[in-house]
Homo-oligomer: 258 residues x 2
């Protein structure tokens, strides 16, 4: 620990230091020893030891036989209450099941967090094509079907700012032109569905539709991801729309007559 | 806030106070205003305000337009790393899907936390019978199929202590006799499957099997819950065992030749 780091630690509030311990864990680092936690959280070993002890006693962390720490079951239980996390997922799951049974393809549920989509649910049978997405994963809005569905229905000011870019490219086909993205979003609003092809990888295509909450605002999006070659898009669109409307109804949304 | 409560607050460490704010949220209280949080966490309004502010800024809590707080998406993302929570669920989900497709009944995945089972996953189509279980719910070990499967394979000392009771009854049929519970557990170990009938409600029956991790220890249990009347137990047993073995293999378990 450098003197600068010790000074940095002292400048932070007690809640910030505790949350820094939790934030030390991510998808690339799901298991950490005390030294790793201390380094990643920018805390002295003494402080990290004390905070990890408190988190472990409460159940937010669990220590295995090798002295390695993992995220604990109690934190997961509290997090299960997140209305945009497991709670949304639990309302949506029967409809996602139906969509999976109808298509036997990868089925996803996502919400928007800032400029990214966060995947809340992801169902794939063992036979479905491999897609490199996991629950809790994030992806930029413009490169995914769910992202386009969410972006197309977000605040006008946010949309403008997002479209101005920069828009990262993942394949030669990823939308990186602001004008093209704006036209794409208008089409999503018109048709009620987003079709995203070769945006993340060259071989995948996704069909997504927005999910509305009680007040009518778009709160999530559902999608099916299929191999691009041989994709039967006209058949997928109604299935995805029906699932999205089912989830919306379960969330309390009432379709308008118009 | 009483003087006693203020003294109580002062005696607690900074991590304890922050975790008390998170613990104020549970299934009966998924949405709380600041006053509720302060009361349920045993903190002064000033302290609660400061801690809720820090948690909200980090994303562990989210504040809606009405000033009501919910558990936030960022906490859910960190909690998704819990190896006994979402991480286990994600490995298990394809096999749970298969089990659901084969039976079209309620399918559950649970782990043991002390003397209780915690449900990690729960799949039911909209047509499956209503079972009052939700993800994150807890139940005593002796009253459920998954609980019997987990208890039968836990430490001998823990089993002895648990069997000595007291064993709570939920129906007139719930096992409350230590001797009967011990015989039941021996049968679960012999047969490799737990059948629990009329233990929680008078109309439900569950068939459960243990899930083993890489080292061979039982780390979870999978079950199907069906209406007791008309239940085809002999047909459910192999389906549940196959799903449990599939999850075990995916966790790295290697079946022994014996």
């Amino acid at each position: 620990m450098t003197t600068d780091a010790v000074r940095g630690q002292a400048a932070r509030s007690a809640p910030d230091r505790l949350l820094a311990v939790l934030a030390a864990f991510d998808h690339a680092h799901p298991a950490l020893c005390l030294t790793d936690i201390s380094r990643r959280a920018g805390l002295t070993l003494t402080t990290a030891h004390r905070l990890v002890g408190a988190l472990t006693e409460w159940g937010a962390l669990e220590r295995d036989a090798d002295g390695v720490y993992h995220v604990g079951l109690r934190l997961w239980e509290v997090a299960a209450l997140a209305p945009r996390g497991l709670a949304l997922r639990q309302v949506a799951l029967p409809y996602l099941e139906d969509l999976y049974e109808a298509t036997h393809e990868n089925v996803q549920l996502a919400v928007r967090d800032g400029a990214e989509v966060v995947y809340i649910e992801w169902i794939s049978g063992r036979s479905a094509v491999g897609v490199h997405i996991r629950v809790g994963a994030r992806w930029p809005l413009h490169a995914t079907g769910v992202g386009l569905a969410l972006l197309a229905h977000s605040d006008q000011a946010f949309q403008e700012e997002y479209c101005d870019g920069p828009l990262a490219a993942f394949t030669p086909h990823t939308i990186t032109d602001p004008g093209r993205l704006r036209r794409e979003l208008a089409e999503v609003r018109r048709s009620g569905v987003a079709v995203s092809s070769r945006q993340v990888t060259d071989d995948a295509l996704s069909v997504a539709a927005p999910v509305r909450g009680r007040e009518g605002a778009v709160t999530a999006a559902v999608s099916v991801v299929v191999p691009r070659l041989g994709a039967q898009v006209p058949g997928l669109i109604p299935a995805v729309r029906v699932a999205a409307r089912g989830i919306s109804r379960a969330l309390g949304w009432q379709p308008q007559s118009h």
